[in-house]
Amino acid sequence: MTRMTIEQAIHQALAEEMRRDERVFLMGEGVATKRRDLMQDFGAARVRNTPLAEAIIAGTAVGAAASGLRPVVDLLFAPFLTYAMDALVNSAGKLRYLSGGQFDFPLVALSMTGSGWCVGAQHNHNLEAMFVHAPGLKVVMPSTAADFKGLLKAAIRDDNPVLFFTDLALLHQEGEVPDGADHLVPLGQAVVRRVGADVTLVSYAKTVGVCLQAAEQLQAQGIAAEVIDLRTLKPLDETTVLRSLRKTGRLVVVTEASGLCGMAAELAALAVTRAFDALRAPVVRLTGPDAPGASSWVLEQAALPTAEAVVEAVQGMLGDAVVVREALATT
């Protein structure tokens, strides 16, 4: 194990995969400036600064991926993906299928998002759900250094197009990362970050920390919260979520993204369609509002789900459960 920041974990993953497979290459606005050492190690052909044009960056990645290369493109901030939507949604996501499986699209599109930097909604927009909704794409959004490294490596090796989202606020967070170039985290596997039997808290990216904090506070009140970090949003690890729900019967989904047609909706739907009998209380969605991200620090903070809100939601749930149990006992 080595302690490193998430930024370093990402960089290591890129370096290792480029070393391992010469078909892997990196392009984007400033990648050769930002990752100068990779440019020096692997050459200017494999670490390419691009013109400022997301549509052609993404499109070029799609064309290259279908032609034997394994591009990783850095598209910077998530809202800039709106310029790359045709390439990602209509080409990368659909042309495998429409061609009857003639082409693979092993590409990774990196982008950043998340509150905490007062940059406003044109840099901070958690729109990962749009890509979950689109067919043919995989979507990853990790929370720890080890997962960033292992999932990015797995994404690069995956033969499908993968959207890889980084919550900005995590970049400088440190964590232990297994040594060696073999550390992979398979796409599609959630992880139980904390075991508990009373309630399931499901999240991904930065808000996993919020759930863990909440679980700590709940523990002090004798409530055992299970915390699931999805890590991959698509394919979704339904098994891990359902297993937990069958145990706890209670679900709180916590996302920074808006709830409407977001991952919180998807998880709630999963619960009520596939674990209904196990549910003992209404599912709670604690999400960002249906509003663009404001720049002002106080508004930005007000938009975030907090550990306190999670605790309150759980208390509400369990309170109800107690009431119901008592009511039943007296009939």
Binding site: A64, L69, D86, S91, L95, R96, S99, G101, N160, P235
Partner: protein, 326 residues
């Protein structure tokens, strides 16, 4: 008459006849209610002239109006028709239908019916060639319309190809129409060549209804690309003789303009040239037509005999490693 011993000019006439027969047969068939197609009737010389200048190691990207490019490249009309009809023997197993047919085995890759989609992916295909994928020395050709030149991706694609020195031939079939809008409503008169020239790559504007002129220009551009690895641009001036998508009554089309271009039908022009040269006589011409018709008739029989895809395969090919993702 057999292909053996046929001159190249005659082969090009033959290819154009096959394309025309294919498309007209489909149009006829579609009167019965089958899904329509975007035909390239009137533009056959563009496809035949350019594709004939390419080698098997080269890659081609095309769009919604792809039949001519595919047939010129040697696609089996039967499998094309099967694809249009949504049958399993189609090049894409029926998933594409007419609008996004690609045939990897022929090097016709990544067809997109999103106008400009082909332009967005083409630099990546050429980049892969430049970076050593595929057979050495291969280049990429991307076919697109005058409408696609209005999309922002046109600008981005040209700039990247120039900046990264990609072995990419841009071929704009300027057919004066963008679905139901005339080109004159969308851009200044010489816009396409001017826009391309602004990017600083060599641009040639050629009569797209003269298959020999197109072929010569394409040969030159392809040789230049192979020599220095840099992109080239061809504007082929042509005209869409039929509607945008079948059926289309063309009520919005100026009859005089259409008539002028009908008089310049690329098949007839090529035939006239050969007849005048004595390289072809009227009987031989009739025979070539009949051969084309016969091939297409057989193709239609094949396509109609082809099975429908099994509905249980609905979600196959969405993801690589089928099964990993359910």
């Amino acid at each position: 008459m057999s292909a053996v011993g046929m001159t190249d000019t005659l082969c090009r006439l033959e290819a154009m006849l096959l394309i025309r027969a294919y498309e007209e047969t489909l149009v006829e068939f579609q009167r019965g209610g089958a899904p329509g197609t975007c035909t390239s009737v009137g533009q056959e010389a563009c496809a035949v002239g350019v594709v004939g200048a390419l080698e098997s190691r080269d890659r081609i990207l095309t769009n919604h109006r792809s039949a001519a490019h595919l047939i010129a490249r040697g696609a089996d009309p039967g499998r094309l028709m099967a694809e249009v009809l949504g049958r399993v023997d189609g090049y894409c197993g029926g998933r594409s239908g007419s609008l996004h047919i690609s045939a990897k085995e022929l090097g016709v890759v990544l067809t997109s019916t999103i106008v400009g989609g082909e332009l967005s992916m083409a630099p990546g295909v050429a980049l892969a060639q430049k970076m050593g994928q595929g057979e050495p020395g291969g280049i990429t050709t991307v076919f697109f319309g005058d409408g696609a030149a209005c999309e922002g991706i046109f600008h981005e694609s040209l700039n990247l190809a120039v900046q990264w020195q990609l072995p990419l031939l841009f071929v704009c079939e300027n057919n004066d129409w963008q679905a139901f809008v005339h080109r004159r409503e969308t851009m200044p008169d010489n816009a396409i060549a001017d826009w391309a020239a602004g990017h600083g790559l060599p641009v040639a504007t050629v009569d797209g209804n003269d298959v020999e002129a197109v072929h010569a220009a394409a040969l030159e551009a392809v040789a230049a690309i192979r020599a220095d690895g840099r992109p080239r641009f061809l504007e082929l001036v042509t005209y869409r003789l039929r509607g945008h998508f079948e059926p289309d009554d063309q009520a919005y089309v100026d009859a005089d303009e259409l008539a002028r271009w009908q008089a310049r039908d690329p098949l007839q022009s090529q035939a006239d040239r050969l007849l005048a040269q004595g390289a072809l006589d009227a009987d031989e011409f009739a025979q070539l037509r009949e051969q084309a018709a016969a091939r297409i008739e057989a193709a239609m029989v094949f396509a109609q005999a082809s099975a429908w895809p099994d509905p249980r395969t609905l979600t196959h090919h969405v993801y690589a490693e089928q099964g990993a993702h359910s």
